[in-house]
Symmetry: C2
Subunit: 168 residues, 2 copies
């Protein structure tokens, strides 16, 4: 059987993102691979958990640390559907993850390519090899659909309120 | 009774740092204050938890979110003995914390003043008011003592090994 490719692992991260989508969370998913096996997975749970730290990457890192009984995630790759924010980028560096694969760029909060390039910062005690735009299109489309749905529902609610006001 | 000052709250963060010190963790502590009450506290537990995300600030933020049943820590102040790293700075921004007080600067990993100034970044959707050098001296001295102790133990172990080798 052929070795899984980066796209195969990113499909698993996309699967996690879909799980977030289905429960109304911003659809972002992540998996951590160690020696050809997924040892951590997570999807955004900020609203359900009412916890600002519950991003897909943080949940996946915590699970992987628990699995390896180690805060050092050496020899691991993290796959995430969206460019990590400052918090998650810092967590990836703190966990000494050597390799990151991400899908779509995040122009508003991305700390790997968009607003900052913290993975390449040689002043820090760890650098991360970055592979970007892996299945960026489905990851980006899922986010766009999600936010389009929110706007549509807001518009419909506004229209219903206006019609109700006109009736009274 | 007089209102507690920033120094009073930082004493609580220093108390947390001492708890880390006593169990051999790098001594960093944090508390989160909401309407004159501590609703989250934490000290570094990276080694005991074997979890790269278990910094004092992250633990305190998770506890405060749980207490308020909200990922938004509006109307809260975070006190931490050392300048936050990228991960913790990002978490503070993600939690919409309006105010940060920290003790000593961290020239190697600090993301608030030393390496980055992310709290002032107007490209992000939240900025944080920063007060630094609050009880910086005891916070810094505790860290220095900790690392001096480690170096001393390492030196003693090296000497013991050399003497054992000479005897054989």
């Amino acid at each position: 059987m052929a070795e899984p490719t980066a796209e195969d692992w990113m499909q698993e991260a996309l699967h996690e993102a879909r799980m977030a989508y289905l429960i109304g969370e911003v659809p972002i998913g992540a998996v951590i691979v160690h020696q050809g096996e997924i040892i951590g997975r997570g999807h955004n749970l900020r609203e359900h958990g009412q916890d600002a730290t519950m991003h897909a990457e943080i949940i996946a890192i915590q699970e992987a640390c628990e699995y390896l009984h180690s805060w050092r995630l050496e020899d691991c790759q993290l796959y995430v559907t969206l460019e990590p924010c400052l918090m998650c980028s810092g967590a990836i560096i703190n966990a000494r993850l050597p390799e990151l694969y991400f899908g779509a760029r995040d122009p508003k909060a991305g700390a790997v390519r968009s607003l900052y390039q913290v993975m390449d910062d040689t002043r820090l005690n760890h650098q991360v090899t970055v592979h970007e735009r892996v299945l960026a299109r489905p990851a980006g489309e899922m986010l766009e659909n999600f936010f389009r749905g929110i706007r549509k529902r807001k518009k419909a609610a506004k229209k219903a309120r206006r019609e109700a006001a006109e009736k009274n």
